[in-house]
């Protein structure tokens, strides 16, 4: 396999990510871990919105219910046999199963109706969370979830250890989304997004593709939720609330939907905003809203999308000068 410039960039970024805990005095590790969790959540969401063109307004259900799953597993069995990676895997499987049910019900609908079905189902999950206090502890949430021993060997209680666990989960999740996007399966998804009737006429079982991508997206969202529970050692109702579904739309859009790195950048941006805007107190809602509006009006491609656009224009200009125009690449494969 030829090592392209892209691979080099990936490897460098991967190595930079590894050094996270070294900068403890500049960036707080839990803050970084939060970014990785939300970045994974946003990547999973982007897979659906950016590549399959499906706007789900119910992704909080996967994030939140997997968080409760992992939390309960660790709290009940963490002291005996449950290890964090097993908890995350079980919670991810749960989210995949839930995604299968949601997806099966929702994919037959299009556009805003799809969003509404997912919202309704997610509201139902929220309702269940409220009605099952023995499982969710109501609005108090699951508190003091132990982080456990990774593989039964490494204690994750120190933040620096936990960091590598979270980073590992993120890298695996990110790699999965990347592989999905750049596989023939991803190509079909894009075809469906661009022109569904044509994809049907080409003989693709469109609904099967949509369902599969929905399940993958749900599973990865669940993985993010379960990991988040371990980081913060709590799972709460706000993870299943529709605000969380809205938040992930914001992250994806802000970073650039349909781009590989967009959701990561968007998640980092929004999480930092929440973290550092705490100081402005009651103005935090206003500032978030203004960013949202500006993003829709001015930076519709999102941060990464705009950067790609600019570089393409520059490159095109240069190529145009010496060799004549080459066909522009699709914005969805940077």
């Amino acid at each position: 396999m030829r090592i392209s410039r892209k691979h080099v960039v990936f490897i460098i970024l991967f190595l930079i990510g590894l050094t996270g805990p070294l900068f403890q005095s500049i960036v707080y590790p839990v803050f970084l871990m939060k970014i990785w969790c939300y970045a994974l959540f946003a990547c999973a969401f982007n897979l659906l919105l950016g590549y399959a063109g499906l706007l789900s307004f119910g992704h909080a259900a996967f994030l939140g219910s997997a968080a409760y799953f992992a939390g309960n597993l660790m709290m009940d069995y963490g002291s005996t046999w449950m290890t964090p990676e097993v908890a995350v895997i079980i919670a991810t499987l749960w989210a995949a199963l839930l995604g299968l049910v949601f997806g099966w019900l929702a994919i037959r609908r299009h556009g805003i109706y799809f969003a509404m079905v997912t919202l309704a189902l997610a509201q139902f999950i929220y309702f269940l969370a409220l009605q099952m206090p023995q499982f969710t502890h109501g609005e108090d949430g699951l508190q003091g979830v132990p982080r456990g021993m990774f593989l039964g060997l490494f204690n994750l209680a120190p933040d620096s250890h936990m960091y590598y666990f979270v980073y590992g989960v993120f890298v695996i999740g990110f790699w999965l989304t990347y592989r999905t996007i750049h596989s023939p399966f991803g190509q079909v998804l894009r075809a469906i997004r661009e022109n569904e009737p044509r994809a049907v006429s080409l003989g693709y079982h469109v609904n099967r593709y949509k369902l599969l991508v929905f399940v993958i997206s749900a599973a990865l969202s669940g993985m993010a939720g379960a990991t988040k529970t371990l980081v913060f050692q709590l799972a709460s109702l706000s993870d299943v609330h529709w605000h969380a579904s809205g938040e992930v739309v914001l992250m994806t859009l802000l970073g650039g939907m349909g781009t590989v790195w967009g959701p990561v950048v968007g998640a980092a941006f929004v999480v930092s905003l929440q973290n550092y805007l705490g100081v402005v107190g009651s103005w935090v809602t206003v500032v978030t809203g203004v960013i949202f509006v500006l993003c829709v009006l001015v930076f519709r491609r999102g941060i990464v999308g705009e950067i790609i656009e600019v570089t393409r224009r520059v490159r095109k200009g240069r190529q145009g000068a010496d060799a004549g125009a080459t066909p522009a690449r699709s914005s969805s494969s940077p």
């Binding site: 005095s25 109501g138 108090d140 709590l234 107190g281």
Partner: protein
């Protein structure tokens, strides 16, 4: 750069600690006593806590003299954005780990309080919970470095529940918010009613939030109960009271008893609607000369010019007494300060004759008040008549009923 200096200071502090406990004991870590006010600055609790809590904490620092043990006192603030436990936990961790915060005061909703306490417990750092209501904070979930100030669901239940049963209001109907807080409020009050020979004739769990209570009120009305107990809070309570007035319940034979109502809620309801209701509070600004003077100062200092709620007053009291304890202990070391806090008398313009029990519960007088009629109110914020004072030993969960292990076996702080 600042952080690096901070780190070298930790280094110095560590070196001093290694040098021996005696050297550490008379030292203030990092050369500053830092108090973090972690509260809801932007969400639904921001009127009853919010900026007003920060103002109260700063007032306490100023009243204390601005320095302790010759070191400056600093107050920083953090926003839990309504009651997001993960954001609260994140801030608390960062404050304790990186920003050298010595004590966190505030923590308005129960989930936020439990999250903050968990972080504090792991680090043996102090949390002073003012605002969250749940009893488990000093019961099932109690921990040695936490104090619960001002009120809890039990004291509300006892205050309003017992007083009304004694007045002959024996049959109750509950409209309860469908979450843990509402349920535990109903549960605690039901115990008090049963003990007093009263009876709960019915109850309904209302979703949170509910915009229209008329359907539930109608049920309550037809139940024949003498009292409609509202086991909810905030705009839910306000809506329920308002609609009770609209449907002719207020002023009828049936009375409405909101179990948790802050003075900010009464302010927004207006006396015309709220008049005659009984409620329990841990602080009322116009109770005596001392509280009046302090509250007026708060009113003038606070840019929104509002009288303090019991939560804001509680933040003042918690901050002030924390500083007193630091001074008396001669150090800001958590163990020494907690030991001091639990052994000293708590007395200030807000709290009279209080003390902190082994489980972290601040025991002090609670007040049963009645909302005045518009004609009885002589000046702005003249809202309550104090009907009775509930002595601390009756207002809070008795030690023998508590399941907190610290009651039987108090924690041994330090050596």
């Amino acid at each position: 750069m600042k952080r690096m200096i901070g780190h070298s200071l930790i280094g110095v502090a560590l070196a001093l600690m290694l040098a021996g406990p005696a050297a550490a004991a008379d030292k203030v870590s990092d050369g500053v006593v830092k108090i973090g006010v972690l509260t809801d600055l932007s969400g639904i609790y921001s009127d009853l806590a919010g900026e007003g809590s920060v103002v109260a904490a700063n007032m306490a620092v100023k009243d204390f003299g601005g320095t302790v043990l010759g070191k400056p006192i600093q107050v920083i603030k953090g926003d839990t954005q309504n009651s997001k436990a993960d954001i609260a936990a994140n801030i608390a961790r960062k404050w304790y780990d990186d920003d050298h915060v010595d004590a966190i005061v505030g923590l308005v909703a129960t989930n936020v309080a439990l999250a903050g306490m968990e972080v504090g417990k792991q680090r043996h750092k102090i949390t002073l919970v003012v605002g969250a209501a749940s009893l488990p904070i000093t019961d099932q979930k109690c921990e040695p470095w936490n104090v619960h100030w001002i009120y809890d669901t039990y004291s509300l239940a006892v205050g309003t529940g017992r007083a009304l049963v004694e007045k002959g209001y024996k049959n109750w109907f509950f409209i309860t918010a469908n979450y843990q807080f509402g349920k535990s409020l109903q549960h605690d009050t039901t115990e008090v009613i049963d003990a007093g020979g009263g009876k709960v004739v019915g109850s309904v769990l209302a979703p949170f939030p509910t915009r229209d209570f008329s359907s539930f009120l109608l049920k309550a009305q037809s139940s024949g109960a003498q009292v409609i107990g509202l086991a909810n809070a905030g705009s839910d309570t306000i809506n329920a009271v308002k609609q009770a007035a609209e449907f002719g319940i207020m002023g009828s034979k049936q009375i409405v008893a909101p179990l948790l109502l802050f003075i900010s809620d009464v302010h927004s309801l207006g006396l015309k609607t709220a008049q005659g209701m009984y409620l329990t509070t841990g602080f009322y600004w116009d109770r005596n000369k001392e509280s009046r003077e302090w509250s007026k100062r708060f009113f003038d200092t606070f840019s929104k010019h509002r009288m303090p709620t019991m939560v804001q007053a509680g933040v003042y009291s918690a901050t002030l007494n924390y500083l007193r304890a630091v001074k008396a202990a001669g150090t800001d070391d958590s163990d020494a300060v907690m030991k001091q806090l639990k052994s000293m008398k708590i007395s200030d313009p807000v709290i009279q004759k209080g003390h902190i029990r082994a489980d972290g519960r601040l025991i002090h007088n609670m007040y049963l008040v009645q909302v005045k009629k518009p004609s009885e109110s002589k000046y702005p914020w003249d809202y309550y008549k104090i009907v009775s004072t509930i002595p601390g030993d009756q207002a809070f969960l008795p030690a023998n009923k508590s399941v907190c292990p610290l009651i039987k076996q108090p924690y041994h702080y330090g050596k």
